[in-house]
Symmetry: C2
Subunit: 301 residues, 2 copies
Amino acid sequence: MQKIRIAVVGFGNVGHEVLASVLESRDMEVAGIVEVPEKIQKIRRSVRGFPVVSDVEELEEVHVAVLAVASRSVEEIAPQYLEKGINTVDAFDIHGNSILKLKNYLGPIARANNSVAIVSAGWDPGTNSVVRVLMEAIAPRGVTYTNYGPGISLGHTVAVKAIDGVEDAVSITVPKGNGEHKRLVYVKMKENRNFEEVAEIIKRDPYFVRDHTYVFKVDDVEAIVDMGHGVRIERKGVSGKTHNQRMEFIMSVTNPAATAQLMVSAARASMKQKPGSYTLLEIPPIDFLWGDRDANISRLL
Amino acid sequence: MQKIRIAVVGFGNVGHEVLASVLESRDMEVAGIVEVPEKIQKIRRSVRGFPVVSDVEELEEVHVAVLAVASRSVEEIAPQYLEKGINTVDAFDIHGNSILKLKNYLGPIARANNSVAIVSAGWDPGTNSVVRVLMEAIAPRGVTYTNYGPGISLGHTVAVKAIDGVEDAVSITVPKGNGEHKRLVYVKMKENRNFEEVAEIIKRDPYFVRDHTYVFKVDDVEAIVDMGHGVRIERKGVSGKTHNQRMEFIMSVTNPAATAQLMVSAARASMKQKPGSYTLLEIPPIDFLWGDRDANISRLL
């Protein structure tokens, strides 16, 4: 059987894990790694056995490009692949209607080029979103609380690192319950820069302004980085006229590995969808899994 | 907008809750209740405002028949509706390949008559199956344990009640951990019937044969009936090469209400599928929800 050939696009934390997940998938093979030219030599020295290129055209047949890139560059990068008839999977993680905007932007490009784009194929947005849908299907009335962490928020971390005077930083999300969160920000300052000023800027930043944010000055950010993350989703709702229907989903994972694995599972699903763009909410769940469809249905139902 | 017109087929525990869920659904209306002729008069006295009939032909336009009937009669009842171009939803709950058999039996009938059959649209098999798929999509290697209860298993109870010599019965599922269960079956015998014989029949029944089953003789089954039920699904697995990825889904619900609500959510989804038969694993999750699709995507992602 023809294996699904994957291009790993971007080779940071998540990209490394995408490679690992593809290597563990019996129905897939690595077509190659795509990175910016200045990083290629270093990657070639550390990874053997796959082409490392700066242009996907240099790779032999590619079915799916897994875009392990910053959310903000998905809009620019994904069309380059979709236009070549290559499916894309991203883990675009800016909640709200920007996901729908991205999906609606990529959809026509995908349809015009007979390819499939799966957007926001991580765990939140992503599989957690599916869990929230299931909870509402069981109990349509009620409130769902999604409690993240404790764990590093990449989006918040990037926002802090971009502040003038910050040399390195990490932002940790800690759940307070009922969907409220604390933000613990650890900052290493550039020399001779004022920490209190930066702390104030962080607290007023749109990323942080709604949460209780605590900013700490540290000498070594690397020393506190742990990639564990988690979530607790709770719903108490009403089925028909029956109240107190309770559901809970709890996860504790190494974050880049979970995100990467989900992108790879979504890459598989992309091969089974009609041309167009999809969120995980619009894909039959069985399509994520390897193996015989009927056997999986019998096993998992 | 045209509302989805639902026929409630079977008016026992679950049927009552199906009616409640349809009445709470803004996009649906009750076309009527279908029951066997001998029960119609009694139902007509208790339920006002809807036709109660023994033949769906007596109802005005029906889009979906929600089959709140015993699993074992789905195979016989569903085709009667599908052949009329009416979608069906059942909560067939005999695990293993009998679900696939039912699905493959109903599929050609549905396709030939431009209708949709959704099979096993309860919480297990059903939404729990979707949760198990999501867990494997996140961590493909590993073991999932599904721990049911404590609570009454309707399927098991119906199976026991169908045994000759049984006047009334209830089957309670108790989790032993790691996906193992005890079945506690409480039986009220018909007069002058042999309890030991019935107990042996129960233990050899396909519903019970894989579990430790304890059968007790009681004088009053009603006195021990509580419709609370629950589940705990656990998975510890591997994403790529990263181990110890942990996930857990916990639910505590009034069972007939949860099952009925899911069937009603699936009835909605049936309107969005192409003719044929489906399990919940093959349906885009967003289709279960009421309301604007794009708004739901933005809200839940």
